[in-house]
């Protein structure tokens, strides 16, 4: 991988990001699937409008 960088990202910072990547990326994936599962059930139980969904996503973001 070759980057044209004017700031030195720092080797340690670079490696830590890769390390955190798996963990934090995983968390995002879990959250996304959880949202889908929740969405599936809320859709099947009651018809949620798309606006309400956006609100609930925003709220989750704030909590996260």
């Amino acid at each position: 991988m070759h980057f044209l960088l004017y700031l030195d990202p720092g080797s340690g910072s670079f490696l830590l990001q890769l390390l955190l990547a798996a963990l934090l990326g995983g968390a995002v994936a879990v959250r996304m699937y959880w949202k889908k599962i929740k969405g599936f059930f809320s859709r099947s139980s009651s018809s949620t409008s798309s606006n309400e969904e956006i609100t609930s996503v925003d709220e989750q973001k704030k909590d996260g």
Binding site: L7, P9, G10, S11, S13, L15, A22, L24
Partner: protein, 481 residues
Amino acid sequence: MDSNNPLIKKHPASFRDPSGFLFSLDGKLYRQINRGYQAEYDQLMKSGLYQTLVKEGLLIPHQEVNDVPSLDSSTVYRVIRPEMVPFISYPYEWSFSQLKTAALVTLQIQRKALDSGMSLKDASAYNIQFWDSKAVLIDTLSFEIYKEGQPWVAYRQFCQHFMAPLALMAYRDIRLNQLLRVYIDGVPLDLASELLPFQSRLRFSLLAHIHLHAAAQKRYAGKPVPTKLAAQRQNKGGGMSRMALTGLLDSLESGIRSLSWQPAGTEWAEYYDLTNYSTQAFEEKKRLVAQFLNTTLQENSKPEVWDLGANTGLFSRIASQQGALTLSFDIDPAAVERNYQQTVEKSEKNILPLVLDLTNPSPALGWANQERQSLEERGPADVVMALALVHHLVISNNTPLTDLAAYLAKLGHWLIIEFVPKSDSQVQRLLASRTDIFTDYHRDGFGTAFSQFFSIVETCTVQDSERTLYLMKSRILHDAV
């Protein structure tokens, strides 16, 4: 065209980024965009990112100009004229919430950039400026084209400029924001890690982005970026995927949001409650200040007022509500915090609260002492206000009256200043624990000292109090014109 125009001045802080640079001509600010940055600039403008960010007040608007000579035609792609922020302030002059807002705005911009296939290539707190209660990115050239798999190059800088100082202020001591004055590229993470209390490790965001980050930096110090490893991981799909990058930003954001500080118990935040003005005298003082401001502000269409020792900005608002661009300075971070929160709650315009210790004002800093300007270099203001301040500088700091007058005469064209005599209980409080060596500290001595540097235009005793308000005109600035 190449210009040898001696009036063109390259900005002394604009040298790190090879994408372009700032220069000024005829008092206007321009930014040259170099050919090397053509693809990035075009994507910023064509992807809709620029329009989105400007619309939401996150990025400073600019105009492309064709009639301005460039400094170097061999490298120029475009010259743009960004809107000017009325006053450049620095992170070591911000209160806790100002730095926190700047951090969150940086992350918000990074998310929007990713949506448009771009990424911030720096996350410097100095690229954020405040005006009209809002934080805005002033560096149009901060974006690079995002490539999937690429980590966030500005991660280290974000942690040093925002996460570390905010954590230190929240967990250790509010005064530690002054470390930013010493470390121009943000607080070194090993230092932050050492200074933070143990319980900061119990919070994942601080453990990861400060403590582990510092340990990783130490372990790999001086070693090259392990590109092989990165490439391997990327091929396996385990590099910095977009999802991982989003996770990193989520984690940084929740980390920043979780840091808080309540302004209480510091020196002056309760000052208005303690002051020995009667209600009537206080109203009289407000009326006199408004009257003096009226006299001075008529001279200028967009006057700048510096309120020194502004506390939570009660008198600053007399100026800002008259349309003056008002800097509301105070030494106490709690007072500035409250002042700032008030500007945000009420979406106030024309006022910016900042932390400033007048006994040791912000100096010129950075490379060749030219990257960050001193307070004086950012002046002179049209009007300086120094209300209930003189006794603190003269008695607590032993500043001779003539030295005080000489400095204030350089800071602004007009001065509205209040003299607080020794008989005042506030002065008595300051003198209680020390010998009174201030033989010339009385109204006549004050008048004599200030007359050397100012023409005294008006003198009014504040009714129902022992204090005097003066309106003066700087002789240093006016004789020089």
